[in-house]
Symmetry: C2
Subunit: 357 residues, 2 copies
């Protein structure tokens, strides 16, 4: 007996938009989220403004959450985790366990499944000790900076005072064969540039530098962020490689090479922000196992027909949206979520039609 | 009386995928295309392999076309053009004219509309005379190269013989304030690198150079194209600016600056390929007027809530998919098309539900 509801796994932007899309098509969606709140990484990591439109992340996410929780076709299950799955398109039987107690998992039937379990930030202390992330309090990540910018209190963590010089180091955990992440994380150039603008807005006297390999400001990110960052906000972009972060007096010293000028760099900084890339979240790695989905060599959900069918996984009836499939920006994520909603509902329609007497 | 069908304007990848998405949701789609064939730019410009998966473009497009023309819920109207539109979401009344005769337009009702009218390549002779596109037969564009690669006959146009040295010049018509296109066209780095690999496969003795500002190989383009291009296919990437193309004997001479080495460039070439960017197609500019859609400063369809709602236009019930909204890659285009299909069908559902007695 086919099920006419869609299971959406993950309550971040991809999962919220997918659940809303399914519900707006008149189909019931059950959204399962491990945390005790919806909103995914933008809420959990306390994002400030979104890239590229500079909208307030909390406002946007609250609107998305409200649209989902108020929709009569959506049921949200927080503190819940998918722990088993059998069956196939039209008739998946899924076990859902509480993250809080050891009670027996409850059973759920779904005609199709959308995986929206997202990414996690690369841990810059894990294999990249050269930047001293665990050693110096003033070496932080994009996510740490985001939270300070949201609080409108961008300071040197070691002193609590506004910094005079801040730099970003790009491609930490990306484009790096040594740590096994050859891919580009796609969004870090845009996010660093957006944060550079916000720092200049909040701490106008602060000088801001970005050390980069290539500035990947594709599409409208170029005219909407990169040009204003340079011209209006005087952010200093330096094509170069930072090889080392040291302590010098009460400041940090960034060593490396300016590859355009072809000379060594040695610049004192108050705050160093590591532009950490994307890796599959724990939830993404786990759900791939539970659902029996192929993963690519980086652990993201494999999309077998990438470039031609961007939301199909290796399993019929199971679709993927957002950064669970690899590095994605918010536009990618929301478009994929809408497409996955359409595909999931269409898959159920097909099974129901073929099962009709 | 609301209409329960969706009008899709444009028969390229975005329009085909949108029409299929609508049809698979059980809703009727009418796809209107000006040309006498479906397939859009990949077919019209005779693309070889697609970026980034290297699938054969003709095969992929034929599959997409077949899925649409064989679907009982889709009606395709070739050689047809939308010339008028009134009404609003749920009840658009559209006039469709033949491109072949002066017969009176026929009327069509649609509950929602998806605009998928795409882009056109920047004309490199228009304002960028420094590259001699109209002067030298061996100066060609990405699209010209694509057609030669598809025919498996990559030659110097002036001699018909295989070239020994080929270069790409990136950002022709993009990232350029002088011509008014400050945006990045997003796909040219990937397409040039893909073509560089194909040239090295088809003409193994040929040296290939790419002159670039930033290599924008975001996400998996980095590991799937950029690394193999450098390591396996020995493509020479030169961060530099080409300022001039001249004739020297029976060859071309590219002048500029290698910005990494900080020294002038002067390299003889057999073929120079201009990586021309995206501009709105004539159809995109025209349909914006006909439908009363806001356009951005570049003439693309404006997406008022970009980054938060990537397929909504300024008009309720009218959605956009693909490069009609600005530079997009094929993943973007197909995801947007799926999302637009879901939104269009949901918009009709809402109107029908509220009109029910």
């Amino acid at each position: 007996m086919p099920s006419d509801q869609v299971l959406v796994i993950g309550g971040g932007p991809a999962g919220l938009e997918a659940a809303r899309g399914v519900a707006e098509l008149g189909t019931r969606a059950v959204l399962v989220e491990e945390r005790d709140h919806l909103g995914g990484t933008p809420v959990f990591e306390r994002y400030a403004a979104l890239t590229h439109g500079f909208q307030d992340a909390e406002e946007v996410m609250n609107r998305m959450i409200q649209a989902v929780v108020s929709h009569p076709n959506v049921e949200v299950r927080l503190r819940s985790r998918v722990v088993s799955c059998e069956g196939s398109v039209g008739c998946f039987r899924v076990g859902i366990a509480s993250t809080e107690d050891g009670a027996e998992p409850t059973a759920l039937e779904a005609g199709a499944i959308i995986v929206a379990t997202g990414f996690q930030h690369f841990d810059p202390g894990r294999e990249t000790q050269i930047y001293g992330y665990y050693e110096y309090p003033d070496v932080i990540t994009l996510a740490d900076a985001e939270a300070m910018l949201k609080a409108k209190r961008f300071v040197r963590p070691s002193t609590g005072l506004p910094p005079e010089r801040v730099c970003f180091i790009q491609c930490v955990g990306s484009r790096d064969r040594q740590i096994g992440n050859e891919f580009c994380s796609k969004v870090c150039c845009g996010i660093a540039s957006k944060q550079a603008i916000e720092i200049r807005q909040q701490v106008p006297g602060c000088k801001v530098y970005i050390f980069y390999i290539d500035m990947r400001m594709y599409g409208y990110w170029e005219n909407e962020i990169y040009w204003p960052a340079q011209e209006q906000y005087k952010v200093n972009y330096i094509k170069g490689i930072a090889t080392e972060v040291l302590r010098k007096g009460d400041r940090l010293l960034v060593r490396g090479e300016d590859t355009t000028l072809g000379r060594p760099l040695e610049i004192p900084m108050d705050v160093v922000i590591l532009s950490v890339g994307m890796e599959p979240s724990k939830g993404t790695r786990r759900i791939a196992q539970v659902l029996g989905l192929k993963q690519n060599k980086y652990g993201f959900i494999e999309v077998p027909h990438e470039g031609v069918d961007p939301v199909a996984t290796s399993a019929p009836g199971i679709f993927v949206a957002g950064a669970a499939a690899g590095p994605k920006d918010l536009d990618d994520t929301l478009s994929m979520a809408g497409a996955a909603a359409a595909r999931a509902v269409a898959a159920i329609r097909r099974v129901v039609a073929s099962a009709a007497p």
